[in-house]
């Protein structure tokens, strides 16, 4: 599971990029095992153990997963993009930031 997220994080290692999760799983200890098994290397907030945690509630999240993409100024630039659309969004914003080597972005 999560191969797309893993490959994105690997591809952009060293770039000014971060994948941050908001996690809704109930059991924090079990979740640590999941992170290890699934090789989830990116950081997540643990939102209190449900889909109605404080962060998800504030951000009005009703469907899972929900994705937001922010530029380097913290401005929301894309919402609800997944898969290759998400990759494209991130690459576009990194280009804007001027730090992606165009050849490597592939």
């Amino acid at each position: 599971m999560y191969p797309h997220e893993r490959s994105l994080v690997e591809r952009l290692a060293g770039e000014p990029f971060a994948l941050l999760g908001v996690n809704s799983d109930r059991d924090r200890e079990k979740l640590k095992e999941v992170l290890e098994e699934e090789k989830i290397t990116w950081r997540s907030w643990w939102d209190g153990g449900s889909t109605s945690g404080p962060i998800a509630t504030k951000w009005n999240v009703s469907g899972w997963p929900t994705i937001y993409v922010l530029d380097a100024n913290g401005v929301i630039r894309y919402k609800g993009v997944r898969g290759s659309a998400m990759d494209k969004a991130v690459d576009t914003l990194l280009e804007e930031l001027g730090e992606v080597d165009e050849e490597q972005a592939g």
């Binding site: 000014p16 699934e38 950081r43 994705i67 100024n73 894309y78 919402k79």
Partner: protein
Amino acid sequence: MLRPIVCWLVLLVLIPPAPAQEDVAQEDAAKEPDKPATPMEQFQALVDEHRGAMQKFFEEYRKVEDNDARQKLFRELYPKPDEYGAKMLQLADDYADDLAAVKALVWVVSNDRSPNSAKALEKLTTDHIDKPDLKDVCRALMYNGSAPAQELLRAALDNSPHEDVQAWACYSLAKGMMRVQREPRKKGDPPSEAEKLLERVVNDFGEIEAYRGKTLSDVAGGDLFELRNLSIGCEAPDIEGEDIDGVKFKLTDYRGKVVVIDFWGHW
């Protein structure tokens, strides 16, 4: 999240099978030889027939494991929604002044994805906008962007005498607009129509029960916050919390980087 998001079989399984005893009793009642069945009885008979056919399909489906055989069974035995929908539309035409007509049209909207659905929506709009049954229809049309659906919602908001029908029409219209809103929002922008509709939900219909113990004021309030602060073009509000190891961190720690925020779960 482990399962594929759209699985037609999941949709099918959501229809609960009717208890067998009741079906037999209703069949007997509808077979009374002397009295012609009333429109409501005819409507119910058609609902029962459809449900019975669904049950039969599922019984056969469970016996078969091979994927090709399953698809064949689906093609041959699954009760075709558009065929039942056509019968329901006919019933609605034949008994246009009876309550059964409304029930039949609502059935079409709920069960038939063919062009019958648009016809049913049009008839509900022109002939039945005053009925309380429209509440569930308005609620169900939240993500239906088609012209007949949007026209029904507007007509229900403007003309229904029932507060809960108006409330759901208002909320559904707003949600539909939010969904298609893709233009960036700038500070100082005048409120969009979606925003005005959501404000109306909060002000005029806030007390009405929405989902899971929340009122429309709660849910529309959440949507207003999202529209005003989480639209494309908005500076994201900060997030403060603990990571899975209990270490505190904030979204603003990552300024200067492109960030993907992914609301997820391993369930």
